[in-house]
Amino acid sequence: MTLLDVRNLRVAFRVDRTTTTEAVKGVSFSVPRNATVALVGESGSGKSVSSLAVMGLLDPASARIDPASSIRFDGTELLALDGRQRRALCGKDIAMIFQEPMSSLNPVFTVGAQIGEVLRLHLGMRRAEARRRTLELLEEVGLPDPAVKIDAYPSQLSGGQQQRVMIAMAIACEPRLLIADEPTTALDVTIQKQIMELIARLQQRRAMSVLFITHDLGLVAEIADHVVVMRHGEVREAGPARQVLTQPADAYTQALLHCRPSLDKRPWRLPVIADYLDGAAPPPQPERRRGTSPGDPPLLEVRNLSKHFTVRQGWFGKRTFHAVKDVSFTLARGKTLGVVGESGSGKTTVGLTLLRLHQASGGSAVFDGRDLLRMPAREFQAYKRRIQIIFQNPYASLNPRFTVGDILLEPMRIHRIGANDRERMGRVQALLEKVGLPASAVSRYPHEFSGGQRQRIAIARCLTLQPEILVCDESVSALDVSVQAQVLNLLQDLQDELGLSYIFISHDLSVVKYMADQVMVMHQGQVVELADADELYRNPQQPYTRALLAAIPRSG
């Protein structure tokens, strides 16, 4: 009993008038009723494009679906439907959670209005009824304080909160097929767990099928009935989850499974696909030791950092919201501070405030003997080369009218790194290769890339400057394990070579475990625990930390 049957799907993008590139090359898979199918694979392998094709959301002006392709939903050929028939299905029978919630929400409507709209359209609810239901939905996806957030605009929510709004919107009508494109990248494990349970409940109640796109193989093991593995626009392997995860037939799948970082081991370098695809397993790696010692030279000392926002209420009212309260930590040269914590706990805000992208409300951040937060703007300019941030939402942080080449060259031009553009271009090419992007990327625009690819562009942009401190805000969350490993290795190499320090914000505790010397746990704007990584994982002190660690999905 298949609900969705994709046969021989081919999608090509136009490069210019005559040339096209094929992003999806004859993909076939099916989603049975009342089942969860996980679509995993390399970043940029065509997962999002395939799912957009199912939704009929590819821009007809630039993307062309091969006429021989077929997408049948419940026996109906979707590709043959006209706009009206398709719209009747979309949102109601098929719903999708987009990969980048931050730019997928309409910035000028409140989240309540956007969710309510679906309810009113497809379920014919009245305004008040829809609002009640919206509140319930927001509650269900675990949004704190839904009664307030329902009237918030997307820009007033944290990344994870926005993602949950997206989820609420998609499940609002309890669709028969839910396409979830990396729905939990921005969520911490506790919330992720909550969401997965929610989806599972819906699945039971409505016999819903889920097409789940993710990089998190641990998660796949927990929830998926079937797994489809993609690479380079092709399906490499498909089959029941247990079989694929335990006895992978395809070399790529095997390699993928090997590359997973684990909570127990900390190899010197993470293995990458290439290590396995050659056939021979890579030599065992020495263990890397992490942790801080009191003698480490402190590079950045943050004391009592606070940030509060003034939020508008109605036309005249306002309210102060404390996003960060009295955060203090010390970052040593060549060390990594992992920051974990619930979504909306203020992690991003800490990063942005340190870079003075938000004006701090209080506290100090002493870098090299100078307080970053209080120095004159002119003086701070020089520090921008030394402290950098990779934004949580890479797409929005890339100028849509700049080519990738321009994006990467610009920081070097500003800070006069490299003698001339030719030399800088050389560095750009080298960096692109290191983050796993093709050299041809330089002349393309951000919107032509997959989510993971954009994330790597954002990383590469910061690395052009080789800053002393790099704030990585969920910077590898959209990457499949292999590419993630490649990027983490790169960061590690730079740290080893040049002694960079990282503030590594992530909800992926295994990644944090691998990368961080010290881990800071945040909850509701405050630091609840700050300890050496090994110590924290071994012996969490706070209940919140313990809950966090317990929620980590473990495969097999």
Partner: protein
């Protein structure tokens, strides 16, 4: 918010003062000397001096400026130098006809502009898009003078669809009978530029991801365009529309001249020609005040349509 409005209102004072000074300087510098007109064709030095004394333009500048400011504060600009008609009466009676033409014109222009922009942005690049744009461009490339002359001759005189010119006393008659052709002509020249601008604004938005989301929700194209896209494109559209509003107070003198509409546009031109300073002063001050109020309103509206905008 209230504080913001108060601050903005407070800031209007220096603006108004700037306008007052500028108008005053400009007029005294280039505005011509009304005495030479008022003195008639047998003017002699003595009568000119007398007229200057009667008008008060022989007073020191600071006294005249003081009078000007007192006039603003009391909303009384005295009598027109040229016709001895009270300035307040001039403005009160001439504004109505101008607005009778211009308000419907602006409303229609904006609505048509938005509707067409949304429609053709949706079919961007298609034949329809091209055809509408070319038609609009050709239409807009013709000067309003030509439209007036040809339409008045063809539609009004030859075909008798409209009165050739004239103005009545009842609002309904004026709007439906006399203002119809001027509005039509106004539309012929103004829809095209408006549409092109709006199309550009809309196109800027349709590429955004939230449009994809809206479609994924199964919304009809109409709703996607009219609700989701339009709200986002509203900032520039609002700006454009609001920025044009103060111009309504100055009227459209070509239309007024040709169609015999006793509007304020003719009055402005006439006032400058006759160096009728009281009228110029009053109109300038009103328009300045209106401009500022509309600006403030625009900024408040920004905030209403786009939550990301912060007014400090």
């Amino acid at each position: 918010m209230l504080a913001y409005i108060v601050r903005r209102l407070w800031q209007m004072l220096p603006t108004l003062l700037g306008v007052v000074l500028l108008v005053f300087v400009l007029f005294n510098w280039v505005g011509g000397d009304p005495a030479y007109i008022l003195a008639g064709k047998m003017a002699n030095a003595e009568s000119i001096a007398n007229i200057r004394r009667q008008l008060g333009v022989d007073q020191p500048y600071y006294v005249q400026l003081g009078i000007f400011i007192r006039q603003i504060v009391t909303f009384d600009f005295g009598l027109s130098w040229a016709t001895s008609e009270p300035v307040s009466h001039i403005i009160a009676t001439r504004l109505g006809p101008s607005l009778t033409v211009l308000i419907p014109l602006t409303v229609l222009e904006t609505l048509i502009g938005i509707a067409l922009a949304l429609v053709i942005a949706f079919v961007r690049g298609s034949l329809t898009d091209r055809a509408v744009m070319i038609a609009c461009t050709v239409g807009m490339s013709v000067s309003i003078l030509v439209y007036i002359i040809v339409f008045q001759y063809g539609l009004a005189y030859q075909l008798g669809l409209f009165p050739v010119q004239g103005w009545g006393e009842r609002f309904g008659e004026n709007l439906l009978r006399y203002a119809a052709l001027p509005i039509l002509i106004g539309l012929a020249v103004s829809v095209a530029p408006t549409l092109r601008l709006f199309r550009s604004f809309v196109l800027d938005e349709v590429g955004q991801d939230y449009v994809r989301t809206a479609r994924a929700k199964g919304l009809s194209e109409r709703r996607v365009m009219w609700v989701h896209v339009l709200r986002n494109a509203a900032i520039p559209i609002l700006t454009y529309v609001m920025a044009n509003l103060p111009a309504l107070l100055i009227g459209a003198f070509l239309l007024e001249r040709f169609f015999g509409i006793p509007g304020i546009g003719r009055e402005v031109i006439l006032a400058v020609e006759r160096s009728d300073f009281p009228v110029i002063k009053a109109i300038t001050v009103y328009v300045a005040a209106a401009t500022m109020v509309f600006n403030l309103l625009t900024d408040l509206l920004y905030q209403a349509v786009d939550p990301r905008v912060k007014l400090a």
